[in-house]
């Protein structure tokens, strides 16, 4: 059964409730969000709707202000209506999906569901975002229809950004409903859906609790400072910067303590959790909780941000000394093992090195991973029949780059068993038997698919959650069509190629240019359907290879630079005008040259989490690969008979001159980087290449390639005068330096087609020529070279 969800009701407007409401609005649903009326409402305000709705409206307001933004685009807020439980509950009758996000108390939730049952329309889906209460208890006393359409849907905070969605059926859930949420959550909400059992804390938090508590145990055992633990449990082991204790502060020490207690109280027969029952928490945990030092929200927790600054003007951060229970200035730990491990770039080798060494930090990590492997292995099939949901959950819910079984694979199953057993952990027999069967990894890549070891059938099976994805790693074993130091061109089936960037930070250099050139011309000559430009990296690209450009400029090799810039312009024009469709698939940073490439592509599937921008001004340049030209084209295309034109021109100028970066792909339409008629947004990042391939196939049949244009209306001097006047305001306001003014005037010159004495129509090539001229003249300026050098050395822009 397919459910068509159009309207949702979100019951409860706390941080999670309003975050979920915003994300449902992001994907186009109409949302009704309800919450209680204030407890302390007085007689005077009893009938005042403003006061009655003050909780829900206050919460929504906070959500709309939150950073990073909860909505893809501000205007989506219009999709959210608000109300209260007393006056507006009957409106949930319109909802196709009702999601409960009220306080974690069984009695309150049950009351809510009793009311939901009274007003919901039959067949509507009802779910709970509970993180801890068993789903089966929530439906006690409810009708069969209610039970059938009910399950848990557990989002992680913040809902727009955290990719995990745990779907938890109870016994009477209709399997069709569960299948629907697994698919809808993935394809429409853009989440990594993970099917969970109705076990305490489900999957991610169950493993997360063990991991967090173990870290604290080991901190005490090895007598480590919190800064030291954070230095070895963050990026060093492929986890976020927040590592261990910074994460506690971020989540809230009270919150994680509640989850810990809940798990300890409700879980039985869990070899690790059982050891925690009745065990007193360490003194420092009691200290933090008794004093309500819960972390960031209380001003201090494990760390404390002071108001004082050090000699370099940096805010002094204090760290809790776990022994004295006093805050003291945090230290930069210099652990011997960290220094050597950091230099090992191949992560499997680094991990192996880390768990082998003899320092106490090595022992810490060895024991941690030993415990993690054992715990995860022993939880299958208790919390999940298969292994991949455990890895999926930890990756998408805790932002680990590897789940427990994937870490294990990096070392090999045999070595993992050895480590675990040497630390006194017990590994279940089914795992111990694997090396004997010649199986030393839980996963393998085969026939372009990622396969997992299935415990029940004792064989490898395809990971079903990845169907419909194109994972470039999985097809790497096939001979590539083109491969050079910067990119690989893959055959992704059905006559479609994919150009994958492989350079550092995916920076665009000559190799990528050649790869794209070769792919497209091969496609044209051999009758391929088209080309996708996309990769699976965190960031699509940071832009052109600045190092190379900067070096050539400093050596004053302007002929070479002219050829190079011309080459990039022509590449982008080729992308636009080649006889086969070229479709982008992006995520993360789509900066500079990457943005210009996108502007020229025939279409694109942009992950909603694409941060797109022409950022060249930051290094003293103007977009020189056709980006400035394209902004002139887009302004011209917006002009209409009788239009005053100037506001459109100023808008496009401002976008380039301030290096505007969109905070979502949706926002990029407003900036003029994306166009409604050719570009599309996908909520699900990992699906973008597969969707781009679909787009190529859809376009290929009747594709008529655009030809270079000669009808671009530019405003000449009239436009320049307006833009110069606008630039003057930035200068007077000291938002721009004198050199910024020079750069901005060059941008204005190109956008206006130069100092023409009247409006005229010009060609794309004319604009490209003056754009290139402007780019090169800026590049020849000492100040631009200083900016480039500074950025490369310090990774932050220089204002000169």
């Amino acid at each position: 059964m397919t459910y068509r969800l159009q309207k949702a009701a979100v019951l409860g407007s706390g941080v999670m409730g309003s975050g979920i409401a915003c994300h449902l609005a992001n994907i186009g649903m109409e949302v009704l969000m309800l919450d209680i009326i204030p407890f302390d409402i007085n007689d005077k305000d009893k009938n005042n709707p403003v006061v009655r709705n003050s909780i829900v409206n206050g919460a929504l307001k906070n959500a709309l202000k939150s950073k990073p933004a909860a909505l893809y685009e501000k205007g989506f807020a219009n999709k959210i209506r608000t109300g209260n439980f007393e006056d507006d509950f009957e409106k949930i009758a319109e909802a196709d999906w009702i999601i409960e996000v009220v306080v974690e108390r069984l009695d309150i939730k049950q009351q809510i569901f009793e009311k939901v049952e009274k007003y919901r329309k039959p067949g509507s889906l009802v779910t709970s975002n509970t993180s801890s209460i068993p789903i089966r208890m929530l439906v006690e006393g409810r009708s069969d229809d209610f039970k059938k359409h009910f399950c848990g849907t557990h989002f992680f905070n913040p809902p727009r950004y955290m990719r995990l969605l745990e779907v938890i059926p109870h016994e009477a859930s209709d399997p069709g409903v569960i299948d629907f949420f697994m698919e809808f959550g993935d394809e429409v909400l853009g989440k990594q859906t993970v099917l969970c059992k109705d076990t305490p804390a489900f999957i991610a938090n169950r493993i997360g609790v063990m991991s967090g508590v173990k870290m604290i145990e080991l901190t005490e055992k090895y007598d480590m400072r919190i800064e030291e633990v954070d230095s070895i449990t963050g990026p060093l082991i492929a986890r976020p910067n927040t590592a261990t204790y910074k994460l506690q502060d971020l989540v809230g020490i009270d919150t994680s303590d509640k989850v810990n207690q809940f798990v300890v109280e409700t879980v039985d027969g869990d070899e690790y959790i059982d050891t925690l029952k009745g065990k007193a928490a360490p003194d420092f945990m009691k200290f933090l909780i008794d004093n309500k030092f819960f972390g960031r929200k209380s001003g201090k927790g494990f760390y404390e941000r002071t108001r004082k600054k050090d000699d370099n003007g940096k805010t002094i951060i204090n760290a809790l000394n776990l022994k004295t229970l006093e805050y003291e200035p945090s230290i930069k730990p210099r652990l011997a093992a960290v220094g050597t491990a950091r230099k090992i770039e191949v992560f499997s080798k680094r991990l192996s090195h880390l768990v082998d060494g003899g320092e106490r930090e090595n022992k810490f990590l060895k024991e941690y991973f030993a415990a993690l492997f054992a715990y995860a292995a022993n939880r299958v099939p208790e919390i999940s029949d298969e292994i991949y949901p455990v890895d999926d959950a930890m990756r998408s819910g805790y932002m680990w780059e590897y789940g427990p079984f994937e870490y294990w694979d990096l070392l090999g199953i045999d070595k993992g068993i050895e480590i675990a057993e040497s630390c006194g952990e017990s590994i279940p027999d089914w795992v111990k038997a694997l090396p004997g069967k010649g199986i030393n990894t839980f996963y393998k890549l085969e026939d372009g698919k990622k396969k997992y070891y299935d415990l029940a059938s004792e064989s490898y099976k395809s990971v079903p959650s990845l169907e419909g994805f194109i994972i470039l790693d999985a097809i790497r074993s096939k001979a590539p069509i083109v491969k050079n130091s910067e990119c690989t061109v893959h055959d992704i089936g059905d006559g479609v190629m994919c150009v994958e960037f492989t350079s550092k930070s995916n920076a665009i250099g000559e190799g990528i240019g050649q790869g794209i050139q070769q792919a497209i011309s091969k496609a044209e000559e051999e009758g391929w359907n088209g080309v996708v430009i996309g990769n699976n990296a965190k960031n699509f690209t940071v832009g052109a290879n600045l190092m190379n450009v900067g070096m050539l400029a400093m050596k004053k090799e302007f002929d070479t630079l002219n050829q190079m810039v011309d080459g990039f312009q022509q590449l982008n024009m080729y992308i636009k005008t080649s006889k086969v469709p070229v479709v982008m698939a992006t995520q993360g940073y789509v900066f500079g040259g990457g943005c210009e490439m996108s502007m020229h592509a025939n279409s694109g599937i942009y992950a909603a989490e694409s941060y797109i921008g022409l950022v060249e001004v930051g290094v003293g340049l103007l977009p020189g690969g056709g980006g400035t030209k394209e902004m002139a084209v887009r302004a011209s295309d917006k002009f209409f008979e009788g239009d005053v034109k100037m506001p459109t021109l100023i808008e496009n100028f401002r976008t380039i001159a301030t290096g505007t970066v969109s905070t979502s792909a949706y926002e990029a339409f407003g900036h003029g980087y994306l166009l409604k008629e050719k570009d599309f947004v996908s909520a699900n990042t990992p699906r973008n290449i597969a969707q781009a391939k679909e787009k190529v196939l859809e376009m290929a049949d009747h594709f008529v390639a655009p030809t270079p244009r000669h009808d671009i209306e530019v405003l000449g001097r009239a436009g320049m005068a307006a833009l110069y006047a606008a630039i003057n305001e930035f200068r007077l306001g000291e938002y721009m330096s004198d050199y910024d003014v020079e750069i901005a005037r060059k941008i204005a010159y190109v956008l206006c087609g130069g100092d023409l004495t009247s409006n005229q129509q010009v060609s794309e090539q004319y604009l490209l020529d003056i754009e290139r001229e402007g780019f090169l003249s800026l590049l020849g300026n000492q100040k631009t070279q200083e900016r480039i050098q500074y950025l490369l050395m310090n990774n932050k822009p220089l204002r000169n």
């Binding site: 005053v644 005068a721 307006a722 006047a725 007077l732 306001g733 000291e734």
Partner: protein, 390 residues
């Protein structure tokens, strides 16, 4: 022949984009104010009006199509002509000065002069910002924004953030006291605004009356003002709190020759003794009054000491303070009932509105000479000296 100001009325000044006139056109507003003015002089046949002179700073869009003519025909009949004039923020006073000049030249006997402006419906820089390329290449500051000039004068005349905020607070306090004391009540024409809107899918009609200036913030404090961020410059001193407000409003005076006054047996309230304009560097446009004031005083053969009260348009607190400092004005006699920071600044209307306010306050204080002065975008100043008659 001498020219007299017989009477004058204004609308309340509403906050642009959120106030009572946010959807109300400035030509409609002018028609209502002029009709009311005429009703107070029942012996004057509208057909005797020689011309309607309307100051308007952005005469385009809703204020385009010759707003002067549109208003004259609708308010007084198709026989009565109308003209639109523009000297930005000086327009309203300039209109009065033109009327006086025409009467003195013998070109006519009866003029309606003032100004009207909607800042709700027309963008500050008009719909199309398009300065001359040649002008921009000659001097980039010809088209400088007003906020930037307010920062420029603050720097040049060393006005601090604290001084500007204190001035702003004073403006709000004086304006609140004036409104509470009912001082503007008699000069304001209450305007009924009819609204038609859709609520819950239904067409609803309603109306509201605008009869009180809307800009005053009674809860303003120095601490509150100090918290605002600079609006125009990184680390600057000019904020939304110490700048004039954008507003909607209309104000008109009846200017008549001595002959006609006698014929109709009217008692004029004042005469415009002198009016001068002058130019300054556009980047320091705020200082414009400093060149206009001495010129006007010289015309009238007077000294600053003779002036008993001054309405100095508060484009910005930094600007007003710079003028007070540089022109050596006595702050005790400036803007006795608050200024544009609290009461609003409907560009083309302001000069006429300040004239009406000044004359009424001079009557209450039984003063003889008063002055209206304002700076003008593009680098100009205006000063008009009024003599009150008994």
């Amino acid at each position: 022949m001498e020219a007299y100001i017989v009477t004058g009325y204004r609308s309340a000044v509403a906050k642009a984009k959120k106030g009572g006139f946010k959807n109300y056109r400035s030509d409609d507003l002018a028609v209502e104010v002029i009709k009311h003015l005429m009703s107070t002089v029942p012996d004057l046949d509208p057909k005797l009006v020689d011309d309607v002179i309307i100051g308007c700073a952005n005469p385009e869009g809703e204020q385009g199509l010759q707003i002067g003519r549109m208003v004259s025909a609708r308010a007084l009949g198709k026989e009565v002509p109308g003209i639109t004039i523009n000297r930005y923020c000086a327009s309203g006073l300039e209109a009065i000065s033109i009327a006086v000049g025409k009467i003195k030249a013998g070109f006519g006997h009866v003029y309606i002069a003032g100004g009207t402006e909607t800042m709700s419906l027309i963008p500050m820089t008009g719909y199309k910002l398009s300065p001359s390329y040649n002008a921009v290449m000659e001097n980039i500051n010809y088209t400088v924004s007003m906020g930037a000039t307010a920062e420029a004068v603050a720097r040049k005349y060393e006005i601090t953030r604290e001084e500007a905020d204190a001035f702003s607070l004073g403006s709000h306090q004086k304006a609140a006291a004036a409104i509470d004391g009912g001082l503007f009540k008699d000069e304001i024409v209450p305007i009924t605004v009819n609204n038609v809107f859709v609520k819950n899918g239904k067409r609803i009609e309603s109306s509201h009356i605008v009869d009180t200036d809307e800009g005053v913030r009674r809860d303003t404090t120095l601490e509150g003002l100090a918290r605002l961020r600079p609006a125009f410059k990184n680390g600057g001193v000019v904020t939304a709190g110490n700048s004039s407000q954008t507003s909607d409003g209309a104000a008109f005076t009846l200017v008549m020759s001595e002959e006609m006054v006698k014929k109709l047996n009217l008692e004029p309230v004042a005469r415009l003794a002198a009016c001068a304009v002058g130019g300054v560097d556009p980047l320091y446009m705020g200082i414009g009054p400093c060149v206009a004031i001495p010129k006007a005083l010289a015309q009238a053969g007077m000294s600053l000491n003779d002036i008993e009260q001054i309405e100095l348009n508060e484009a910005f607190a930094t600007q007003a303070l710079s003028v007070i400092k540089e022109a050596k004005l006595n702050p005790e006699i400036v803007n006795l009932n608050g200024g544009a920071i609290a009461l609003g600044h409907p560009l083309g209307c302001t000069g006429a509105k300040l004239t009406i306010q000044l004359l009424n306050e001079m009557r209450r204080r039984d003063q003889r000479y008063g002055m209206v002065t304002a700076c003008v975008g593009g680098g100009q100043g205006i000063a008009g000296i009024f003599e009150r008659l008994n």
